[in-house]
């Protein structure tokens, strides 16, 4: 009976852990996405700066 209680608990614990692990994986993906988006924003910013500079030089 004791074994039974233990195995039942471990079944639940496993599912709870797996839900937590998935959440951790999600965090990692979101972090990477943020880095990527910042990179794109900066590139965009630089690009615009460059174009503005060019426009000024042309004037």
């Amino acid at each position: 009976y004791l074994e039974d209680v233990k195995s039942q608990a471990s079944g639940q614990l496993q599912a709870a852990e797996s839900r937590y692990e998935a959440q951790k994986k999600i965090t990692r993906v979101l972090e990477l996405e943020i880095l990527d988006l910042y990179g794109r924003l900066e590139k965009d910013g630089r690009l615009r700066k460059l174009e503005e500079d060019k426009a000024e030089t042309a004037e």
Partner: protein, 313 residues
């Protein structure tokens, strides 16, 4: 289709869905009343009999470890599984990997990739060969499992089982295929060898995808229609399930016998083809009209060579 194979097919299915089908359903119901569930007995049952469709998702979830053996825990554990499903799905929409227009099987693939740490940097990156395997299996699974949470979890664990439990045995299957084909029809094997076709057979389709998308369904429709109604099987699930019940419950060897049976069924055609390319191409697109009995005969063949699993219930 010869009279003989037709008779064989019929007898197998009268047996399966007739009175014995009712008995089987009852004995499965008794097994499902056990608390905790006896995984070993459920495995043996699935190895021997096709699962009634109303219990398939439940038995598969238990066998694949998605649900624990204790009935009391089912609601709680399934709630965790649902959370996990919607968490992952939601994250994928936030990073714009999926949207409302994304096909369901692709959603499953992205979820699986995220959970296994293999999500590519961009959704536009080309798919890996293993992704195609996943998609093929998910597509077949989608036909059989209605609930999308169940479908994702079953596909995920099914593929995981192929990659873990069967990782060492799947590469052995081509060798086993050769061995059993030799026992069943050595002339056919020598013909394949003469054409140097043995190494070029569609092993990936057979053994990595477990025939997902390979065995035609339409021919079955007219043939097994009445049986399906009696057994409450939907037509689409019929073929793959007969095999996949066995894979889920722990035998990937059944795949070898399906492959051998395909070769035996199309022996005349294969013998008439003289190049490896033609043979492979033919086997990848089995004709729709004559493969009705392949699976049931394959199961007979499997039992003949490997013995019938003892049902201890």
């Amino acid at each position: 289709m010869t009279d003989d194979s037709q008779r064989n097919f019929r007898s197998v299915y009268y047996e399966k869905v007739g009175f014995r089908g009712v008995e089987e359903k009852k004995s499965l119901e008794i097994l499902l009343k056990d608390d905790p569930l006896d995984i070993e007995k459920l495995c043996t049952f699935s190895q021997r009999f096709p699962l009634p469709s109303m219990y398939r998702a439940l038995v598969w979830k238990v066998l694949l470890g998605i649900l624990p053996p204790h009935h009391d825990s089912h609601a709680k554990v399934m709630a965790y599984r649902k959370d996990q499903y919607s968490d992952v799905l939601h994250a994928l929409t936030v990073v714009r990997f999926v949207n409302d227009a994304t096909p369901q099987v692709e959603v499953y693939l992205r979820m699986y990739q995220l959970e296994s740490g293999k999500l590519p940097r961009s959704p536009s990156f080309p798919l890996e060969p293993e992704d195609d395997v996943f998609l093929a299996i998910a597509k077949a699974m989608e036909e059989m499992v209605e609930d999308s949470v169940d479908c994702y979890w079953i596909t995920r664990c099914f593929v995981k089982q192929l990659n873990s439990k069967f990782r060492d045995s799947l590469p052995q299957l081509p060798k086993a295929f050769e061995q059993y084909l030799n026992l069943e029809d050595s002339r056919l094997l020598s013909h394949l060898k003469t054409c140097s076709a043995v190494s070029k057979l569609p092993y990936d389709l057979w053994f990595k995808r477990c025939f997902a998308g390979c065995l035609p369904e339409s021919s079955l429709q007219r043939y097994v229609f009445s049986y399906c109604i009696q057994a409450a099987w939907s037509l689409k699930e019929f073929l793959a399930l007969m095999v996949w019940d066995k894979v889920v419950s722990g035998s990937c060897k059944i795949l070898v016998f399906v492959a051998v049976e395909i070769l035996l069924t199309f022996k005349m055609k294969v013998m008439a083809l003289s190049s490896a390319e033609k043979i492979t191409k033919f086997l990848e697109n089995i004709p729709q009209d004559s493969s009705d009995a392949i699976v049931s005969k394959a199961i007979d063949l499997w039992h003949k060579h490997c013995g019938t699993p003892v049902h201890s219930a």
